[in-house]
């Protein structure tokens, strides 16, 4: 006999076991019903009126929840074992009338007894996201999903700022920023997380301050570095979606390659004067096979074809429009609702006030995303892009 089984046999001799329906009757007669399961188990359902104290904090919390040591207490878990240990512990604390519910919540549910799915949102979150909770596509479950999600923004610049601002407002749980730049006055025409008072400050720090002021419940991770083959996987690990708001070709190709390798959706945006484009590069999307960035552009333009800095420029609002399209796509991906821009390039022409859509196909011979191909490895992106 194992030590665990010996211990259980000893506990069963000391602690009264009762069925779920007996537990329910005792609860109706004034007994405390304590659910000692973990939060993720309780999210699946718990008897109405049960005190959800958790096994780990039970001894610390029980006295506040059940101040009368002579009130009958029924302990329950998922199968009826953890509740025996919990009851034994409460006996040692001085509770006089203890029961353990046989079969736990599994049997409670199987016997058709009532249960509720307790709210995963606290009252502050319910207020903050009230306008989300009334949308069927989001609701409480969707909001909880957003709050458990992690989104990485490549660049806290023209595209990353508006995208991150709204993702933070929407309650995305963790936002990461990768940027090695500092705030310059010429950024403020469009990079709305920064401000006059933050000139010279690292953009990731400035972004963190603004995001935390808007929504202190968002966790902000900052990476004040330039993305490279050496750090990309370490930084990307654990993120659900990557929002590419980068400003140079080497980073765009690196972001693409890492996202393809790690299977992370790459939400893409780019802007030029009065024109912008958005798409989602995600070969792993289950409902439709779309391309990766390399399928679309196998090679970057050589330096001599890249427009000079004097020629470039952008209407400040334009990255706002495109960055917010990226934010919308990100939220759709996190919630799993709607039809994403996978295999679709959405083009916005501000002067014409016109949106157009182009169909993108995967390249069956793409060295990075084609079916059944081994990842060819990261490359020297600066050299590949001719320093463009």
């Amino acid at each position: 006999m194992k030590a665990k089984d010996r211990e259980l046999a000893a506990l069963r001799a000391r602690i009264a076991e009762i069925s779920p329906s007996e537990a329910q009757r005792l609860q109706q007669q004034g007994a405390a019903l304590i659910d000692v399961r973990e939060a993720d188990e309780i999210a699946q359902g718990s008897p109405p009126g049960a005190l959800r104290l958790g096994r780990g904090f039970l001894e610390l919390r029980v006295e506040e929840a059940v101040p009368d040591f002579d009130q009958p207490v029924v302990l329950m878990c998922n199968g009826g074992t953890r509740s025996l240990f919990a009851a034994d512990s409460l006996a040692r604390m001085g509770y006089s009338t203890l029961f353990s519910m046989v079969g736990g919540f599994s049997r409670w549910k199987a016997e058709g007894l009532p249960f509720e799915q307790p709210s995963q949102l606290d009252s502050l979150a319910r207020q903050r996201y009230a306008r989300h909770l009334t949308i069927p596509e989001v609701g409480e479950e969707g909001q909880a999903k957003l709050m458990a999600s992690k989104v990485l923004l490549i660049g806290a610049g023209g595209l990353g700022c508006p995208a991150a601002f709204y993702l933070a407002a929407a309650g995305v749980g963790t936002l990461g920023f990768v940027d090695d730049d500092v705030v310059d006055r010429s950024n403020l025409q469009r990079q709305i997380l920064h401000s006059e008072a933050k000139l010279g400050m690292a953009k990731v720090r400035s972004a963190r301050q603004t995001v935390e002021a808007l929504n202190p419940t968002v966790k902000v991770d900052t990476y004040e570095t330039r993305l490279s083959s050496a750090n990309v996987e370490e930084i990307f690990a654990g993120y659900d979606v990557v929002v590419d708001g980068s400003d140079n070709f080497p980073t765009r190709y690196l972001v693409n390659d890492a996202c393809v390798k790690l299977g992370i959706p790459n939400v893409h945006g780019s802007v030029y004067r009065f024109e912008g484009q958005a798409s989602v590069f995600w070969p792993g999307y289950a409902k439709r096979r779309g391309p990766c960035y390399r399928c679309l552009y196998p090679e970057p333009p050589p330096a001599e074809f890249a427009p000079s800095c004097m020629e470039a420029g952008v209407l400040g609002v334009l990255p706002g429009v495109i960055g917010l399209l990226e934010a919308v796509e990100t939220i759709k991906l996190l919630l799993g609702v709607g039809d994403p821009l996978v295999g679709r390039l959405l083009c916005y022409d501000a002067l014409k006030a016109e949106f157009r859509e182009l169909e993108l196909q995967p390249n069956p011979d793409c060295p990075y995303c084609a079916e059944g191909r081994a990842f060819p490895g990261y490359i020297d992106y600066e050299q590949f892009c001719h320093g463009a």
């Binding site: 595209l159 030029y272 196998p298 169909e359």
Partner: protein, 99 residues
């Protein structure tokens, strides 16, 4: 038999078309349309096609919504009123030299 088609010029290439965002011309195929465009606007051709006359790797060409690569390439025939879009790769975001 040639019909009039429209080629949309992306912003980065409008310096070759005196700022025009569209060029209308007569053509039966995409290849013909691009060759004519290159003749009309000096310097534009080499930005779109390589020395062998094939679309460059960093430029995508669409007829209506469809990628030329999924059609018959430069031989794709055109109907009057067709719209050709040229979509070059744009890095986007910050602009070098801004600091």
């Amino acid at each position: 038999m040639s019909g009039t088609v429209v080629i949309r010029i992306p912003t980065p290439l409008r310096s070759y078309t005196n700022g025009a965002d569209e060029v209308a011309l007569e053509a039966d195929t995409v290849g013909q349309a691009l060759t004519t465009l290159a003749l009309l606007h000096e310097g534009l051709g080499e930005r779109i096609l390589d020395a062998d006359g094939k679309p460059r790797q960093f430029v995508n060409i669409f007829v209506g919504k469809a990628d030329l690569r999924t059609l018959q390439g430069l031989g794709t025939s055109l109907a009057p009123g067709d719209v050709i879009s040229i979509v070059p790769a744009v890095a986007g975001g910050r602009h070098e030299g801004e600091g």
